[in-house]
C-alpha cells in the first residue's frame, strides 16, 4: 500500500492530520492482517484438519502384500521430523483399523526404507530435510505426505495444499505407482490435482 507516500505535505496541519489518520487506519489494518494470519496458522484450515487428512488416506491406498508382516500386522503411520500435530494424530488413530490392520503412529527424527512405515508425514528437521527423507524412501512402498506450506518444494506423493482457503491435496500417482502403491480412484477424484 503506497498511498501514504503521495505528495500532500504542502497542505499544512490539515495535511498532517490527514496523514495521521491514514497512518492510524493503516496500523489497524496491519493489526487485523497479522491477527488473521496468526489465526490461520494455528486453527482450521490448519493443523487439525491436516492431521485428520493424514489419518484418512489409508483406506484408499493399497500396499503390496510384502509391506505387511502378516494379516493383522499394524499399519504404521510415521511422522518424520518436527511433528506439527502434537498428540492429535495419536488421538485420531486410536482404535482405528484399516482392513485387518490396526493403525499405529510412530515419531521419527530420521526415516529410511527400513523404518517400517506405510505412511510417512515428512515434516523435515535439521537432522533430515524433507528432500533427504524423500530420497531415503525412494522405491519403498511408503506413501509420503508433505505440506506444501512447509516442505520447501520437496513434495511427497500426497501434498497438502490450500485452495480457496480449503485444505486440498495433490497426488503424484506416477511416483506412487513406481513404489508399488495403488491409490484408489475415489481418492484421486477428490484430489485438487493428479500427476501421472
Amino acid at each position: 500500500m503506497a498511498a501514504p507516500a503521495s505528495p500532500v505535505s504542502a497542505k499544512g496541519s490539515d495535511g498532517v492530520r490527514f496523514v495521521g489518520r491514514l497512518t492510524r487506519w493503516t496500523a489497524v489494518a496491519a493489526a487485523w492482517l497479522t491477527a488473521f494470519s496468526a489465526f490461520a496458522a494455528s486453527s482450521p484450515p490448519g493443523a487439525a484438519i491436516k492431521a485428520a487428512y493424514v489419518t484418512k488416506f489409508a483406506p484408499f491406498v493399497v500396499w503390496p502384500p510384502s509391506a505387511f508382516a502378516g494379516p493383522t500386522a499394524p499399519l504404521v503411520l510415521c511422522v518424520q521430523g518436527d511433528d506439527p500435530f502434537g498428540a492429535m494424530l495419536d488421538r485420531l488413530t486410536a482404535d482405528q483399523r484399516v482392513g485387518s490392520h490396526p493403525m499405529i503412529v510412530r515419531h521419527l527424527a530420521r526415516i529410511d526404507a527400513e523404518s517400517g512405515c506405510h505412511i510417512a508425514y515428512l515434516a523435515g528437521s535439521p537432522a533430515q530435510s524433507q528432500a533427504a527423507a524423500i530420497r531415503a524412501l525412494e522405491g519403498s512402498p511408503v506413501l509420503t505426505v508433505t505440506d506444501a506450506e512447509a516442505d520447501g518444494g520437496a513434495a511427497g506423493m500426497v501434498r497438502l495444499v490450500l485452495v480457496d482457503g480449503r485444505v486440498r491435496f495433490v497426488i503424484d500417482a506416477g511416483r506412487a505407482g513406481q513404489c508399488r502403491l495403488v491409490i484408489s480412484s475415489k481418492l484421486l477424484a477428490l484430489a485438487a490435482e493428479v500427476r501421472r
Partner: protein, 575 residues
Amino acid sequence: MSGQTLPLAPVRQRVALLWVATAVLVLTSIGLATRQEAAHRADALRQAEAQTDVLAGSVSAALAFNDTDAMRQSLQALMRDPRVVQAAIYGPDGARRAQLSRPGVGAAPDRLTAAEALPTDRGDVVARPVIEQGQQLGFVYLQTTPESLASLVGRHTSLIVLTLLSLLLLAVVTQAAARLADANARLSEEIEARAAAEDALRQAQKLEALGQLTGGIAHDFNNLLQAIHGAFELILGKAGDERTVRRWATNGIDAANRGARLTRQLLAFSRQQKLELKPLIVADTLAGMADLIGRTLGPSIELVFDLDEDRLLVMSDPTQLELALMNLAVNARDAMLEGGRLIIRTRKVDHPGDAVLPAGRYIELQVVDSGEGMAPAVAERAFEPFFTTKTVGRGTGLGLAQVYGVARQAGGDARIVSQPGQGTSVIMLLSEASAAALAAAPKAPTAALSPSEAPAATVLLVDDDDAVRATVSAGLEARGFRVLNANGGEAGLALADAGPDIAVIDYAMPGMDGAATAEALRSRLPNLPIILASGHSDTAAVERVLGGAATIMRKPFDTAALADAITRVLRPDAA
C-alpha cells in the same frame, strides 16, 4: 317321430362354463396385475438399493475428507433419476453432512444412527453404511417416490384394455349362448308337444280307420246274421223235413264261416294276430275274394283277373294275403275316383336274384290300376308304416306296409312301379313253396258227425258264456262225450275231482282266466290234457303261460274240429 330331445344340458353347461371363464379371466388379470405390481415394487426397491450402494461406494472419499462439494455432486447425479426425491449423506457420528430434496419433500432425518442405517424396508427408503477397508465412514440415505396413480394405470394399460375387451367378448358370447339355450329349451318343448300331438293324431287315425273298417264290415256282418237268422227260422218252421233242415243248416254254416273270415281280417288289422304260414295257391285265394274285391271297388271300376294256370304253391298266411289284396284294392279304388280298370295278375317268374331276393322261382302277384299314379318321392316311401298321402281319416298309412310285411314274410318282396298319370303297379313276389311243405300241412277236419269213433271220454268244459258252453256241450255230447259244465275257473276246479279225461277251457274269462285255470288244474291233475279255446288272438301269451303243452283252438270253431282235436290229444296214434 320319436321323442328326441335336443342336447339341452350341454348348452346350459356351456353358459355356465362361460361364466366360469369370465371369473377365471378376471381373477387371472387381478393375479397377474398383483404379481406384476409386486415384481415392479421389488424391482424398484432393488434399483433404489443399487443406487444407494453406488452412492455409498462413490462418496466414501468425499465423506472421509468431508468434501461437501463432492458429496453434493454425487447427490446431484443421483437426483437426475426422477424417482429419487431425496438423498442425504451422514458422517460416522450420524450427523447429516449433505442433503438434496425435491420441493415438497420434508427434510431427511437430521441424524442417522448405526441401527437405522441398516437396510430399512419402509418400501421407498433405503439407507446404507459407507464402509471403506472396514472403516465405517458414514451413511447414505435415499428416498424414492411412491408411484403415482397415473403412472400405475399407464403401466397396466395393456392388461386392463385386454381384460376389458375379453370381458366384453365373453359377455357377448355368454349372452348369445344363453339365448341359444333358451331357444333350444323352447324348441325341445315344442318338439315334445308336437310328438305328443302326432301320437294322439296317429291314435285317432287308427281309431278312425278301425271305425271305417268296422262300419264297412258291419254291413256284411248284418247280411250274414240275416242269413243265419233266416236259416234258423226256416229250420224251426220245417223241423220235421230233414232235407230242408239240412239245406238251411248248410247255408247257416256257410254264412257263419264268412263271418269268421271277416272277424279274422279285423284282428289282422289290429295287428294282434300271429302269422300262420301255410302253403296255399294264390290263384285260389284270389278267386275266393273276387266278390269282396268287386264290392270294394264299386261299379265304376272294371275288375280283371289274369291268373296263372301253373297253380304254384307259396307259403303265406291266407288271411293276411287276403287282407293285403284288400288293402291294394282299396288303394286302387282311391286312386281311381273317376273310375278305371284294376288288373290282378299272377304269374310264375324265375328271378335271377338281387340284393334283396335270393335267386329262385317266385309267384309274381301284380295289382295294376289305371289311376293317378305316384311321384317318385311318394313311391319311394310308400311302404313305410304310417306314410300316407290320404287326408286325415281316409287312411292310416298301414295298408302298403302290411302288403310289404306279408310279402317279406312269405320269403319275397314287394315293389312299386308308378308314374304320375300312368297308374300304379304293386308287385308282390312270393317265394314258391316246396311240395313237401304242402304234404305236411294238416288236413281239414271232417265235418261229419261220427259218434261211433268217439271215445267214451269225460270232458271238463269251462266257459263263462252260457250260450257258447251250451252249444259246444251239446255238440260234444252228440259225439258221445260226457261233458262236465263249469261257468268259470273256480267252478272248473271244483269239478276236478269228478275225473275229467281232458279239459277244454276258454281263455278270456272274468276273474280267473283260462291260463290261470289251466295252471291250477294242472297242479291238481298233472297229466290232464288241456285245450284252450281262444277268441282272443293273443296266442303268444297263452303259449307263454302254458308252454307248448296246451293245444289251442281258435274261436270260432266247428264242434267237429274240437272233437277231432280232443281225439288227437287223447289218442295221438289214432288221428
